[in-house]
């Protein structure tokens, strides 16, 4: 029993620290809740350190095959924690500026991180589902917490109802799988499917699979299960949008791999077809509708949908290197998305969200350096070499080509060209338009520093994509 406990120490400690943070928050009397915030940041650092210390290099199961620790889970957990650390920092700056700091925000954030970590190392259908619910519930309430904002309440409501619908579908799919195989752990399902099933059973498996794919697609925001994304991105306060658009996507990747690869690799030909449809629709709808947006949060929402389409390409290839490509893509996406929303926070001020495209007008004049950071971010999102976003697209496209889906790759390239248009429009606004106001941008030194580092990471990773790719490959080997 003891060695099993050891594997879950990071999760356990995080749970304890989150609970302590909850108690500590009642004693944090200052308006800005500095104490809670610092404690949460330190908690994440502790968890990161613990993941380094206790995680084995090998694949190990615990708790009757409900928990797995393998290289992928370790890498994903680390990335999730690091990204959340930065995200919380941006969020804190935002909440502080808008004088709306609540300790619960960070406590719930920690629980969300816990949910994501559970999803990353879930080895049974049950843990995946519970991890997902823990994450989602935290997210719903993080949005709803901004009670004074009508749009936030509305966004929370929509997210909650649609999320419940999607969870229901996922759960239904899970129950089908359980009904057919009689086991809950993915290893068991995998060996069941591998042992050969007759046609009747296969139909039942595919039937369950459809519902599971729907659940995954909802979480990722793939068309036609994307409808929540634009509304929730736009309606939520930027601090929460930032969180939703980054770390949970990585958890969604973990969920995808666990369910489709660890559990149902034998149904590859079936889910491949489904994902191709989702991917094509996502790339088309996301890229094209993004063009007509004037709200940058909404535009980034459609851009997310488009990115998900690309991300799915790697999964579609159905090989370990393809999965690594997708992992690379989603990590890179999270970093880029973080920076882009960070820029919106950077430009905003009390009582004012800088979420219109026009807010970026003439930024090059107001602040050349941050205009440059935004330029890097947008170029990277558009996939222009040598930035890291290019490599992300490159790896997934390479994988689908290797699997013989040349037409799919060609379509992807066409849509990436279309997509470049709306990213470039922002650059045009920043560099070639006159600013509406020449006010100096007010932002703390820490925010400036973190934003700069975020931009530089994208630039530098572009020159050493091999390192990150090697990490992803080793995680999935």
């Amino acid at each position: 029993m003891l060695p099993q406990i050891q594997l879950v120490i990071p999760e356990l400690v995080l749970l304890c620290l989150a609970s302590i943070a909850l108690v500590l928050d009642t004693y944090s009397t200052s308006k800005n809740k500095v104490l809670t915030f610092r404690f949460v940041q330190i908690s994440l650092l502790i968890v990161i350190a613990l993941i380094f210390v206790v995680s084995p290099d090998t694949q190990e199961y615990a708790f009757n095959n409900h928990f797995i620790s393998d290289p992928m889970s370790v890498v994903l957990k680390l990335v999730i924690c690091i990204i959340s650390l930065v995200v919380f920092f941006y969020s804190y700056e935002y909440l502080k500026e808008h004088e709306n700091v609540k300790g619960e925000y960070f406590v719930l954030g920690l629980f969300a991180v816990l949910g994501m970590m559970i999803m990353s190392s879930a080895a049974s259908l049950l843990t995946i589902y519970l991890g997902l619910e823990l994450l989602s519930l935290s997210l719903y309430s993080m949005i709803a917490m901004h009670k004074d904002s009508l749009t936030a309440s509305e966004a929370a409501m929509k997210y909650f109802v649609l999320g419940a619908l999607a969870s229901g579908m996922l759960l239904y799919g899970i129950s089908m799988l359980y009904g057919v195989t009689g086991v809950l752990d993915l290893q068991g399902i995998s060996s069941f499917a591998n042992a050969g099933v007759d046609a009747d059973m296969n139909i039942m498996l595919v039937f369950g699979l459809v519902f599971i794919v729907v659940g995954i697609a909802f979480k990722l925001g793939a068309v036609p299960f994307h409808m929540w994304v634009p509304d929730i991105y736009e309606g939520s306060p930027t601090a929460v949008t930032l969180f939703i658009s980054t770390a949970p996507k990585i958890a969604a990747f973990a969920m995808t791999i666990r369910l489709l690869s660890d559990g149902l690799q034998d149904l590859l030909s079936d889910w491949q077809g489904m994902l191709i449809i989702l991917s094509l629709l996502s790339m088309a709808v996301g890229n094209i509708i993004a063009i007509s947006q004037t709200n940058i949060k909404r535009m980034l929402a459609y851009s997310t949908i488009a990115h998900v389409g690309f991300f799915l390409l790697g999964i579609i290839s159905g090989t370990a290197s393809g999965y690594a490509g997708s992992m690379f893509y989603i990590i890179v996406y999270a970093i880029m998305s973080m920076g882009s929303f960070g820029m919106i926070i950077f430009l905003g001020k009390k009582g004012y969200e800088a979420d219109q495209l026009d807010d970026f007008k003439g930024l090059a004049k107001r602040s050349p350096w941050y205009a440059f950071i935004m330029l890097i971010l947008m170029f990277s999102m558009a996939g222009i070499p040598p930035l890291i976003g290019f490599w992300a697209k490159w790896f997934v496209i390479k994988e689908v080509v290797a699997m013989g889906y040349v037409w799919l790759a060609a379509v992807a390239v066409v849509f990436s060209v279309i997509g470049a248009f709306y990213y470039l429009r922002i650059i045009k606004l920043m560099y070639f338009d006159e600013p509406d106001e020449m006010l100096a941008i007010k932002a703390s030194r820490e925010l400036r520093l973190v934003l700069s580092v975020n931009g530089m990471v994208i630039l530098i990773l572009g020159f050493i994509p091999g390192a990150l790719m090697a990490l992803c490959l080793s995680a999935l080997s």
Binding site: E154, L162, N202, V206, P224, F225, V285, I288, G466
Partner: protein
């Protein structure tokens, strides 16, 4: 030896980059003069070293350099590398690029004297020089693409340099979008190369290419396409964007909104020739596909002829030069099409000098005229600007191919090469390039006479301030005038008929038109004399004479002609309607499709067609927006359920049969 060369090549590339970075990042610190000194020194170093490399390779028997400098990433057996391949072709380009750029840097001191973005400008043009050098020195497709995109990006920044002008913004967006179309083809071409050969290294690709000469691929199932044709045409589409070939030429005339040094550097001498260079570099691939070569030939001849015609009706001095550039690029492309790669490069080199010269002269005129660009408001300037006048005359003579000037040799070689080609459409191309000679002469001297001779039509204030430009302007003019005259004499022998390019350019025996020409070649003087027995020279002289008649002797005639043939004039003024067409279809199209799809997709289909099925759905929808908890959520949930149903239908029930 070659390890020395490696550091020299690195210095050639990095010196302009360093200059650019210093001027860009510390512009305020080092001040205006600091910015121009540091960049001029940077580009100067690279220019001098390029000449050294040229000497080394040409005269001292240096070896061809081909090595990777830095491995970026290795993935799945393909490695992405930064590397240099310096052979005769490369070194020629290096000298042209760095030297012209150097001159333009100096000239810029005068031209941009009062501009608030002085440091930024120097930083950009140095950056451009760096990117262009990376492009030409590359030894693999990836770096080629990288340089390709980088020069595009800088040119985009430079066209929009005066971003307060609405038209400049429009022009730079246009340039960027049109180039994206080209780049898309280029990228597809590179992807096809990667798929076929599984490597991006030039030498490996070229070595393997002949094995694939007859392979086919089926893009649409059931049809077989020659693989090499597909690759080459895709690559050439990229070249069409950069080198402004019809129908992707529309950005170049508009790009004249940028400052004149940029027009000279990017849109005449270097960037636009990147496409020409690329095709010459890819000669081992293009040689394998006659289809692709024919395509190149047709596009080139269309560009050469029709773009020249447009130059006849323009009144903006820079636009005339721009259309002349388009037409000359057409000539180079024609040369590529008939496999006379050396002739194309030769024309590229001479053109770089005399066209830069013409642009800088135009800039000098524009400065004297207080940024007035309309030729109808000039005239008689030879009295006030003697140096500009002389150098313009030299440039114009070189452009029309007056015997003895550099342009004569290169253009004549192209015309002769087309004459000997056996490709389909070569006859038409021959007619196009021949009549092009007349047209070139006509519009060049129309410009020359309108600007420098005839009545002085400027307003009084301008007239009072007319004076020759300062030395930083006239010195580069004079320096560029020299090669515009003499370069042809020196280069024609070795470049076209010698074995200078043997290692760099590959021509199949049955395409070797220059070889045929070479049999009749007996030294440069007999070539020159021979020209007097051929049509081009007389066509050019006729063109000059007609220009003189129309614009000096009987200046009222052009208006009458324009009136009589109004419809032709109108077509030319409208640039064959291509601009409007693009405007309507491409630029507007993407945006409209986006909002259309948004409206149709999200609003109409889901709310209207599926839910309500009537036109009143939209009104209903806007009413619902206020009551969002019900209206929207239903829709969203419906969409999800319909999606689920579709997936079920496709993936579960098809199994049921």
């Amino acid at each position: 030896m070659s390890s020395d060369m490696e550091s020299i090549y690195l210095a050639i590339v990095l010196a302009p980059l360093a200059g650019s970075l210093i001027a860009g990042l510390f512009g305020k610190l080092i001040g205006r003069s600091g910015a121009h000194w540091v960049t001029i020194i940077g580009v100067g170093i690279s220019s001098v070293l390029s000449m050294y490399a040229f000497k080394d390779l040409m005269f001292d028997g240096g070896e061809i350099f081909n090595r990777s400098i830095y491995t970026w990433l290795t993935t799945g057996g393909i490695s992405f590398e930064i590397g240099f391949m310096v052979d005769q072709l490369t070194v020629t380009m290096m000298v042209v690029v760095s030297f012209v750029s150097w001159m333009i840097h100096i000239y810029t001191i005068g031209y941009m004297h009062d501009d608030p973005g002085y440091q930024r400008f120097f930083s950009y043009i140095s950056l451009f020089t760096f990117a262009m050098l990376m492009l030409v020195m590359s030894n693999n497709f990836l770096q080629l693409f990288f340089g390709w995109e980088a020069v595009g990006l800088v040119s985009y920044l430079l066209i929009g340099f005066w971003f307060k002008r609405e038209s400049a913004i429009f022009a730079n967006l246009k340039a960027f979008l049109v180039n994206r179309i080209g780049d898309f083809g280029f990228l597809l071409g590179i992807a096809a190369v990667l798929m076929t050969f599984n490597t991006l290294d030039y030498n490996q690709v070229f070595a393997m290419a002949p094995d694939y000469a007859n392979s086919t691929i089926s893009i649409i199932s059931g049809t077989d396409w020659s693989l090499m044709s597909v690759i080459c045409i895709c690559l050439f589409i990229g070249a069409m964007g950069k080198s402004a070939q019809v129908p992707l030429h529309v950005w170049l005339p508009d790009s004249m909104e940028g400052p004149t040094p940029i027009s000279a550097l990017i849109h005449a001498a270097t960037m636009v020739t990147a496409g020409i260079f690329m095709v010459a570099r890819m000669s081992p691939l293009f040689e394998l596909s006659e289809t692709a070569l024919t395509f190149v030939l047709v596009i080139g001849s269309i560009t050469a002829f029709f773009m020249g015609l447009l130059g006849l009706v323009q009144n903006d001095i820079k636009r005339v030069v721009a259309y002349s550039t388009l037409s000359q690029l057409g000539y180079m492309t024609v040369a590529l099409g008939v496999s006379a790669y050396s002739a194309a490069i030769f024309h590229l080199v001479t053109h770089a000098f005399f066209k830069a010269l013409l642009f800088l002269a135009a800039g000098s005129v524009i400065m004297a005229m207080h940024h007035e660009q309309d030729m109808r408001k000039m005239g008689g300037l030879y009295r006030y600007m003697p140096i500009t006048w002389v150098t313009s005359l030299i440039g114009s003579l070189a452009l029309i191919g007056f015997p003895g000037t550099a342009g004569f040799y290169s253009k004549d070689a192209i015309i002769e090469a087309v004459h000997h080609s056996s490709l389909p459409f070569a006859n038409w191309a021959y007619i196009a390039v021949l009549s092009g000679v007349f047209i070139t002469a006509l519009y060049s001297f129309r410009l020359f006479f309108l600007v420098f001779h005839g009545k002085e039509r400027m307003d009084r204030n301008t007239w009072e301030h007319l004076k020759e430009s300062p030395a930083v302007v006239t010195v580069p003019l004079s320096v560029l005038a020299i090669p515009s005259v003499i370069l042809g004499v020196f280069l024609i022998g070795p470049m076209l008929f010698g074995d200078y390019f043997t290692a760099a350019i590959h021509v199949q025996a049955n395409h070797d038109v220059l070889g045929v020409l070479g049999e009749d070649y007996h030294g440069v003087w007999s070539f020159t004399l021979h020209a007097f027995q051929a049509a081009p020279v007389y066509l050019a002289l006729t063109g000059v004479a007609v220009a003189w008649l129309l614009y000096i002797k009987f200046p009222e005639i052009p208006a009458k002609i324009a009136n009589r043939f109004k419809w032709i004039h109108q077509i030319l003024i409208n640039k064959y309607g291509l601009d409007d067409f693009n405007q309507l279809v491409f630029a507007g199209g993407a945006r409209k499709t986006g909002s259309l799809l948004w409206q149709i997709g999200d609003v109409k289909i889901i709310d209207g067609v599926i839910v309500d099925g009537t036109a009143s759905a939209i009104r209903w929808f806007s009413g619902k927006i206020r009551n969002i908890q019900t209206g929207h959520l239903y829709d969203y949930a419906f969409t999800m359920i319909i999606g689920l149903l579709l997936l079920l239908a496709v993936f579960v029930h098809h199994i049921l049969g």
